[in-house]
Amino acid sequence: MAREATKATEPNNLTIDGQTVPFKAGQTIMDAALAARIYIPHLCHYPGLKPAGNCRLCVVEANGKSVAACITPAQPGQQVCSDTSELNAARLAITQMLFVEGNHICPSCEKSGNCRLQAMGYYLGMLEEHFHQFNPRREIDASHPTVLLDRDRCILCDLCVRASRDVDKKNVFAIAGRGIHARLIVNTASGKLGDSNIEADDLAANICPVGAILIRERSFDSPIGERIYDRLSISDTAMTEHVPDKGKDHD
């Protein structure tokens, strides 16, 4: 999307849900919102990584037009509506669809309590999945000694792809196929994670918002009550997220 040039030195403002929000040249609506500590729900966006506009949870009304906040440039005088019943209803439906498209078994998932998809469900007041379960048959890849790839939980956010390509400089992951056939693949001849050069302290091994990419056998090290979303809402943690210098889990 083309970005309108705005002079960095000029104070620019837009409004989000009626609140005046300053922004700098080159910032997106999401950037401006986060800088002003306004939460716009999102799963595939992570400050420090190039935005991709995949999950569509951050869709807002900007001057009456539906746009993804993470990839839409902020504009002077822009009127943005985000926290509306209509948009939150759409976000709830998207989150429900993400749940039913995969196999998200929260009760036994070791990411439970640290999972951003689960936290999003709580944030949006999701009480049930609403849609019929797809129950897809997906392959688990346990071939790597320290990193596990469990495709059952993948929501195709693309964060691992961007982290591995742009930060780790290893290009371990890719999204293959389109639409409902899209799937996370490993860029090795065998397609196995064990044949890749991913390491446990790579950003790509730690940035997964769900439990699709995990460090093996850490299991349930974090006791209940001490997990991230036992104490905080996803709207809180989003304010402090940023890619670290060396890939460690953001949390």
């Binding site: 078994i105 009760p107 036994s108 070791e110 688990i140 346990a142 071939s143 596990l148 469990d150 093996r216 056998e217 299991s219 349930f220 090290d221 974090s222 006791p223 209940i224 009550g225 001490e226």
Partner: protein, 497 residues
């Protein structure tokens, strides 16, 4: 007799009576009574109508996930499944010895689990039968009725259960389906705050446990008619410790015959497949385990409180040991075969749990911070066995080189009591069925017999007498002769054809 239900009804001239579902047990069950042409009970079948499939769908999952996956088998005894799986996972991670603190935390957790499960069963599910009588008004014969008529007893039961749940919460973070175990240890220490809070109530818990035990002793000593109710001789299986004492968490397998003589003793539970076999029958999703050396006809056995208290040579805590001696004196020579004595034995175990909890809470190591040990070389198979509230529980997992589960075998406690429950049903039905009409008394007494075992049929759901109960009398041609329905409001209605 064939295992095929329809051919049983027609080819052998038997009639079928079905009780569906059975109430105030953990899960949904259905009883079928097969009558011969002389209206004698030819066979009794407790059908398990749910299919769970855990053994199959944990295949393909990482081994370290298993304790938290399989604990979802049950909402009453998830800790038992978590601990049995955790012991198996320790082996898969190449670990044979935990730190003293981790071992004590797991034991404390297990005592809390047994305490709350036993309290739930007696007070919420079974006490109405004994306090009001087996044939009393079903509208009143439930925990609400106990609260109204015997509020002190009911509140003791509720608070006993609450205490056990608090122990579970202190260690796993939640009262139901928490976490806690890790390969080789535990994930957090017991805080001083929790330890002090639990200690503050333990004297009261001990007193209530003694009161409950005394009530159960009276129930049996003052009602000699209970001795013959659903009673039969059987083998017994349980864990015992190195000295032969009562043991819930870790020990050797001991099986005794109906006379109390050992069939085997101090057997390593990892060799359970050489000791036990499981028979599949077409009419039930629940298998029929038996002692291999005695065969399927003679080798079936009972597990649970009655088996444990019968099998052990002693109990390591003084009050429970004194209670065990009174129990043995009541039974005379050999094991106590009285099926309703399950309740008595259960309350002896409640007292043992309370005493053991007190002892562990005073142990300085219980609040230690040394919770895990280093993993060793991964192994291909892990077998964890514990004494769950309802009896010996087996978890057996095989993994591949990548740590993925390839095979699982679970023998849950209620499965081991499968044949015994059928025997109890047949015994009671022969006593209370006249062959012409299904009576409320028959329904009530059959349920009391099954309830003694505290069966957890689905390991997930339970009901407080609210489920409808239906009994049908069907003749040899499959024609409905008579039907009695207990509605969800507890009222009976008859429908004759």
């Amino acid at each position: 007799m064939t295992d095929d239900q329809s051919s049983t009804n027609t080819a052998t001239g038997t009639r079928r009576i079905a009780i569906d579902p059975v109430t105030r047990i953990e899960g949904h069950g259905k009883i079928t009574l097969l009558l011969d042409n002389d209206n004698h009970i030819q066979e009794a079948r407790l059908h398990i109508v749910e299919f769970r499939g855990f053994e199959k769908f944990i295949q393909g999952r990482p081994y370290w996930e298993v304790p938290f996956f399989v604990q979802r088998l049950c909402g009453i005894c998830p800790v038992s499944h978590q601990l049995a799986a955790a012991k198996a996972v320790d082996q898969l991670a190449g670990i044979d010895q935990l730190t003293p603190t981790a071992t004590k935390l797991r034991r404390l957790l297990h005592f809390g689990q047994i305490l709350q499960s036993h309290a739930l069963h007696f007070f919420h599910l079974s006490s109405p039968d004994f306090l009001f009588g087996f044939g009393s008004d079903p509208m009143r014969r439930n925990i609400v009725g106990v609260l109204e008529k015997h509020p002190d007893i009911a509140m003791q039961g509720i608070k006993l259960r609450k205490y056990g749940q608090q122990i579970i919460e202190a260690i796993t973070g939640k009262r139901v389906h928490g976490t806690g175990t890790l390969p080789g240890g535990m994930n957090r220490p017991l805080s001083q705050t929790w330890r002090d809070a639990l200690l503050a109530d333990i004297e009261q818990i001990l007193q209530w446990s003694e009161n409950t035990l005394r009530l159960n002793e009276q129930i049996h000593t003052e009602h000699p008619e209970h001795a013959d109710f659903a009673t039969f001789r059987s083998n017994y299986l349980s864990l015992v410790d190195d000295a032969g004492a009562l043991e819930f968490y870790h020990g050797g397998l001991r099986a005794c015959d109906p006379g109390g003589a050992p069939i085997f003793d101090q057997q390593n539970y990892c060799d359970y497949r050489q000791l036990l076999r499981e028979e599949v029958r077409a009419w039930s999703y629940m298998k029929f385990p038996y002692l291999q050396q005695l065969g399927n006809e003679q080798g079936w056995y009972r597990v649970g409180p009655l088996a444990r208290v019968n099998n052990c040579d002693a109990i390591t805590t003084p009050l429970a040991e004194a209670a065990r001696k009174r129990f043995k004196a009541f039974g005379g020579e050999g094991p106590v075969h009285n099926t309703l004595a399950y309740h008595w034995a259960r309350m002896i175990e409640v007292l043992h749990c309370a005493e053991s909890i007190q002892c562990l809470l005073h142990d300085p190591e219980i609040t230690g911070a040394d919770l895990t040990v280093e993993k060793g070389d991964r192994r291909q198979q892990g077998i964890g066995v514990i004494e769950a509230p309802r009896g010996t529980l087996f978890h057996d997992y095989t993994v591949n080189d990548e740590g993925i589960i390839t095979k699982a075998n679970l023998i849950v406690s209620t499965t081991s009591n499968n044949q015994a429950m059928n025997e109890s049903i047949r015994s009671v039905a022969n006593q209370y069925l006249d062959g012409h009409e299904i009576t409320e008394a028959l329904l009530n007494h059959l349920e009391v017999a099954v309830r003694a075992y505290d069966p957890c049929l689905s390991c997930a759901t339970h009901a407080l007498g609210k489920m409808p109960l239906q009994v049908e009398l069907i003749d040899a041609e499959g024609k409905l002769v008579h039907r009695l329905v207990k509605n969800s409001d507890g009222q009976y209605s008859k429908m004759d054809k």
